[in-house]
Amino acid sequence: MKQAAEGTEQDTSKPVASIGRRWGMVVDLDRCTGCQACVVACHAENNIALNLEDVVLQQRAINWIRIERYWEGEYPNVKARFLPMFCQHCNNAPCEPVCPVYATYHNQEGLNVQVYNRCIGTRYCANNCPYHARFFNFWERDLDDTHREYLNPEVTVRTKGIMEKCTFCVQRIRRSEWERRQADEELQEGDVQPACVQACPTDTLVFGNLEDENSRVAQLAENKRHYRVMENLGTDTNVIYLKKVDPHASETAPAHAGTAADSGGNSA
């Protein structure tokens, strides 16, 4: 994709991927209730295969976004903590350089892209992803005609033998882009909303352009509660978490879900 990137750089007349756009997400853990609406929305939007019982038992379930749940404290003072986890779209992604065929790469908008038709399924990227955000299609999907009607035509139905992962709903980004361009306008703040963001009832997830200082997401990213998961790996993610505000934190345990940021090894 080197050439591809260069091609866009030379592009001066009408760049779709304007310089100065880096998509990012802020996850405010203080607001997350663990309702899983984002998970359902993501499944519906992105044609994710149904995780039926047998697939789950085979440990091959696919969830582009998942709610990690941590327990804190001893019974009866147990608290559940939630952490939505999905592809962090790292700027320094471990998954990218290990792919032998450039099926995953970083594009100019800060997206970590997975190209389905290029992927041959070495699964190296999945091994190397510290966030376990990449999923492999072990089976071909068995879609009957009724089922096909549910599919989102904007999103490729993945075949067997390839990797897939959260795309930040790139199809929505592209749609907003060309819809705006039909009217000769630039993309505006709030034009793009991934399915999870749209579905989130508590406004936990905020999506936007991190490079635009005035965008909501960029301002939230400066919040003093901010941290990135597994920052010590130097992955430089585009997803920023805001720590949970816990008035009783000091009374119970020193750490909560946010400890995931501190070390690659803390088991919950």
């Binding site: 994709m1 091609g7 779709v16 594009n107």
Partner: protein
């Protein structure tokens, strides 16, 4: 080289050449004409003789991803009048084909058009974006107006797309087409 090996070599060459010729012939004959449609819709009549704009039928092309095949209702907008009993339709072939259309309309059956330009599932082509950029339909589809039967004139494989994108300084990021 012994005569025996010579014979074997010549035999092998003949077989390979024969296969190549057969392949080439099938390829050429296939490319000669488009697939047979359930109704012999003639772009020649509609576009060349009657000078109808592409967008008149393919209505979505300026606003949506798909150009869309017109629905029967849209055909019948004209063909209710220009039907097979219309005296101006003199060609018996035309009469027969229009009769098929009318039959579909009356039986409330959709027409199973055979798709000519098939993109694989992992490719998203947005017509509107290309029209907006000022391209003519013919850039990719060729001179459909002169085709008796619509066929694909451009390879439209990825190399073709990417080359054109490069020429026109269009973005070549993978996510432009693959999502």
């Amino acid at each position: 080289m012994t005569p025996r090996t010579l014979r074997i070599t010549i035999g092998a060459l003949v077989v390979v050449l024969g296969l190549l010729i057969i392949g080439a012939v099938t390829w050429v004959t296939q490319a000669a004409d488009g697939p047979k449609q359930p109704i012999e819709f003639m772009h020649t009549v509609h576009v060349e003789q009657n000078d109808i704009d592409c967008v008149f039928c393919h209505r979505n092309v300026e606003t949506g991803a798909e150009a869309t095949i017109p629905a029967i209702e849209q055909c019948m907008m004209c063909h209710q009048i220009v039907n097979n009993e219309n005296p101006k339709v003199t060609n018996p072939l035309h009469q027969a084909e229009i009769a098929k259309l009318v039959a579909h309309w009356e039986n409330k059956e959709p027409i199973d058009w055979v798709r000519v330009h098939v993109m694989p599932d992992h490719v998203r082509f947005v017509h509107a974006a290309h029209i907006k950029a000022g391209f003519d339909c013919a850039t990719c589809h060729g001179d459909v107006g002169s085709m008796e039967r619509v066929k694909q004139v451009r390879s439209l494989n990825m190399g073709d797309c990417v080359a054109c994108h490069r020429e026109n300084n269009a973005p070549t990021d993978c996510t432009i087409c693959h999502r």
